[in-house]
């Protein structure tokens, strides 16, 4: 059953707090992604991971870091969250070049 699961789905944090968003997939895909979605800006790539401990910055990595210790899990960490990091975050996975991205349901983060 091809599925990408994100936790938590909804989160409210105070400015300066740390945030951990977690993502899991059951397809043994090598490549995983974190995107953020903002109205009028579309989906922007934060980080891409090609496999365990093989991560690369996307287009907007500042203020974020990632961790991938197992192929099926990919975490997004915000150290000291900022109000402009309020957004919907999507995790996705794919099996290789030219192939389909499978997205999770999204994690809505509000930083107050």
């Amino acid at each position: 059953d091809m599925k990408v699961t994100q936790m938590p789905r909804y989160l409210i944090k105070r400015m300066g707090e740390n945030v951990l968003l977690e993502c899991g997939q059951d397809m043994s895909h090598e490549t995983m992604y974190w995107y953020r979605q903002d109205p009028g800006l579309g989906l922007q790539l934060i980080y891409i991971s090609y496999d365990v401990d093989s991560n690369s910055e996307g287009d907007i990595p500042k203020g974020y870091r990632v961790s991938r210790k197992k192929r099926e899990h990919f975490s997004l960490i915000l150290d000291s969250a900022k109000t402009n990091q309020t957004s919907v975050y999507f995790c996705a996975s794919s099996s290789g070049t030219g192939n389909t991205l499978y997205f999770g349901e999204g994690s809505r983060l509000i930083v107050v």
Binding site: V4, T31, Y33, Y35, G40, L41, G42, L43, Q44, L45, I48, Y50, S56, G58, F90, S94, G96, T97, G98, T100, L101, Y102, F103, G104, E105, G106
Partner: protein, 113 residues
């Protein structure tokens, strides 16, 4: 670098009329083009992707043709349905791009009765 342009942020149509959502791109290498659709409160999911052999992909009544001469991959449907209301993203992955997918800003399609 790669870029995808979707000129319309919002398209509102009456049910039964044809749909055309614009997508143009810039890429150094020969790209794969995709359309993703996101219904309200759901995850984006693949609608169509381009082929390398000039076949026209079709799904759920939607089709798109990759025109390399004009760098376009417009999404079309002959007759809109209420259930087509969603956010549509055009995206590009170039063959040298190490799995990176570049998305346009999206077009919100609203179909009215």
């Amino acid at each position: 670098g790669d870029s995808v342009t979707q000129t319309e942020g919002l398209v509102t149509l009456t049910e039964g009329l044809p749909v055309m959502l614009n997508c143009t791109y810039q890429s150094t290498y020969s790209p794969f083009l995709f359309w993703y659709v996101q219904h309200l409160n759901e995850a984006p999911k693949l609608l169509l992707k381009s082929f390398t052999d000039n076949k026209r992909p079709e799904h759920q009544g939607f089709h798109a043709t990759l025109h390399k001469s004009s760098s376009s991959f417009h999404l079309q449907k002959s007759s809109a349905q209420l259930s087509d209301s969603a956010l549509y993203y055009c995206a590009l992955r170039n063959t040298e791009g190490a799995d990176r997918l570049t998305f346009g800003k999206g077009t919100q399609l609203i179909i009215q009765p």
